[in-house]
Symmetry: C2
Subunit: 437 residues, 2 copies
């Protein structure tokens, strides 16, 4: 690049928001990304830009940098973002990076790396603002004026001598109090907080329920160890919803780490499909068992897809709704029976109406009242069973501490294919015997 | 209730967070809710508690209150929450409520009601804090101290004489500036803002991208009309994800307004199922067309479910992933071709592996190499086609301004059933002719 071009680029970098720079970077090809990063790494913003990048861009980038370069960049980042970057590296390179950092810088980050990524500990930043309860309002204002780094200054957490979380003062309350007042007497002691081990979904639920801008995180001894800000909670909500949607579709959000690379995505999806493949062959086996019935009344064939399809649809509806209700906390095990009872009634009603429609279609198409009855009755039964299974399967998975989202989608669909086909052909076979006698 | 019980209840209400009171209310039966509300309505918190309730509780509650009572309660609420409550009422009752309010109170809310619920205008509150650019830092601090009502005081928006958004000053910046400084000289003029007509999904994306705590909303003349705070954005993110999951499952989030009432939920779900019912009958028609082939090789039957099932699974995976990628902005029309190309390759690879597995199963099970080849080849073709349709259908829907989530789930599954069955039986029929000659 010409000298002038670099200078221009530098000027653009300085004037642009880190989030926009990260988005621009994501749209570039490899060559452009390389050149752009040469300019970017001389800017103070480099850490913030990387923190805003897509995980796939982050990973590609840190893989080509030396441990020293990574150390140099992440030391400027908030500790939670730095830990996220380190989590993308192999253990070996991660250790090299930590070794390349100054001891006091690496300590905080190493502590964060010990917590599971989806816990409050893994989500929190250790760069926060805490003041002793004996401080006056005036001293507190001065402390804020002197500290550039604290990620949030809208809530001021107050700690006792031992570092335990004692209360919270809003910045607003602080400036509306007389200068000599002690924080102890203006702080609110009723602080909603979480433990380092709290699951991130629970953190998101609390922040969203109480409309918080940040939530303090305490360790086992109730000492204030970090805070989680609402922007990280937004990311959690988005990620949890994405993860649920991916799992319901029978895959995993891990796909996102692989961009457009085909082989790793294939490897993520194939186990799910293999399970459903076995389910599909099982359903086929049931058809094969009943082949004598089908050969006798070949018209039965024409309603196999609608019986399995509708069972699958009701199953997907019921299970997706419950998975989402579990995720948002709208339904729990206490309210599960009334939820199940509602779904059963809805499924039964849908089954009666759809059964009547398809039964009528069968009667008109094949001019066979027996077929009409078999189709109608088994459709109704299959849809009611699908509603029950679509509710109980995610609930069972949750009880077993497996993510209920896995139970939705392909899994429930395949299970309902099997029960639907069985009900249909068993009913037809019985009916056939009944006609013969 | 005894007098003492009411007093106790009143004490509990005073000490409990509005969000918790709303949750407690939701868990009560009708009788308890009635008694609880008698106490609640004498508390200052009543508006805030109602704002935190489930929509289904809100609706039940406002339906039994008189227009005067509703007016009395919502006048204490933030204007955006008040508008949400009014949106639950019939037009007639809503007008009665607005008439029962004082003119200056109803004006703001009426303006909000004019905006679509899913626009920035429908989401914003008109209770915000704006200061003239000529004010000094000292005057600004005094203004904050005097105003109890402003929903946020962490960003102070600055307006010019005509009310246009001119800049923003953080509370922190304000208290770290010397008292005589004019806001004009300390404000940042580069304020990320949205228009009243901006879609709420876009609002959420901006707030999340730039890690904002609030975003100002301007009208057509660039005048500051309201603000949207991050807690409302959290709700939007949650709602949009819920809506996508409901639509992918073939229903709508409207279900949530009806609690456990069966009939309204039945009415929401039946149209979706009816469409798929027709699709299922169409698939059956294709089976019926090819009945001669099936009667000749009855073993073909045993692979019908696995062919449709696997096509449906790949279709659901591909479409769900794209719908989510559209929603989070990760894929747009520019990056669609490379996304499609990835999905086609993944689908083809999955098809080869699954086709080989099922083909082998067919060979072993029925000891028929021709059947093995037909099953393997059509599985591969059906899965590749499913990957293409699973990508192009949501993209087409988006182009047509229909929510792409509708295209996922049942719709794509049914479409893939039809193509899968057709490919399979057409291949089998061709192969049969080939063997005969």
């Amino acid at each position: 690049m010409r000298k002038g071009a670099v200078t221009n680029l530098r000027r653009i970098v300085e004037r642009t928001h880190a989030a926009d720079l990260a988005a621009i970077y994501g749209d570039m090809n490899d060559l452009e990304q390389g050149r752009f990063f040469q300019v970017l790494k001389q800017s103070d913003l480099v850490g913030e830009v990387i923190a805003h990048m897509d995980p796939v861009n982050q990973q590609e980038l840190v893989e080509v940098l030396s441990p020293e370069e990574v150390a140099h960049i992440i030391v400027e980042m908030d500790s939670d973002d730095a830990a996220d970057i380190l989590n993308l590296l192999t253990e070996e390179i991660r250790d090299d990076v930590l070794t390349a950092m100054k001891r006091e810088d690496s300590e905080d980050i190493e502590k964060l790396l010990d917590y599971p990524e989806d816990s409050a500990g893994g989500l929190m930043t250790t760069s926060f603002f805490a003041l002793p309860e004996g401080m006056t309002a005036k001293e507190a204002v001065e402390a804020i004026q002197g500290d550039e780094d604290a990620e949030t200054a809208f809530y001021l957490y107050v700690v006792d001598e031992a570092g335990h979380l004692a209360g919270v003062v809003s910045l607003r309350k602080l400036i509306t109090s007389s200068p000599a007042t002690k924080l102890r007497s203006i702080m609110s002691t009723d602080v909603i907080n979480v433990d380092v081990n709290t699951d991130q979904e629970q953190v998101a639920r609390l922040v969203s329920k109480y409309d918080l801008l940040a939530i303090p995180v305490v360790d086992e001894e109730k000492k204030l160890s970090g805070i989680i800000t609402v922007d990280d909670v937004l990311d959690v909500l988005r990620e949890e919803a994405t993860e649920d949607i991916y799992k319901m579709a029978g895959t995993s959000q891990e796909e996102l780490l692989h961009g457009n690379r085909v082989m790793p995505i294939f490897r993520i999806r194939i186990p799910w499909l293999a399970v459903n493949l076995i389910g599909g062959v099982l359903t086929g086996t049931i058809l094969w068992w009943f082949r004598a019935t089908i050969e006798e009344i070949i018209a039965l064939l024409s309603f196999v897809p609608v019986i399995t399809g509708m069972g699958g649809n009701v199953g997907t509806q019921t299970s997706s709704i419950l998975v989402r209700a579990f995720a948002t906390g709208r339904v729990d095990f206490d309210s599960l029976p009334s939820h199940l009872w509602k779904e059963v009634r809805v499924g039964f009603l849908l089954g009666i109406v759809c059964g009547a429609m398809v039964g009528l279609a069968a009667l008109i198409w094949h001019n066979d009242p027996y077929l009409g009855v078999v189709v109608a009755v088994s459709m109704m039964a299959a849809m009611t069973v699908a509603a029950i299974m679509g509710t109980l399967t995610p609930a069972l998975f949750r009880k077993l501490k497996i993510d209920p989202a896995v139970a939705s989608g392909p899994f429930v669909t395949t299970a309902n294919d099997i029960t639907g086909i069985f009900i249909y052909l068993a009913a037809a076979t019985l009916m056939l015997k009944f006609i013969k006698h």
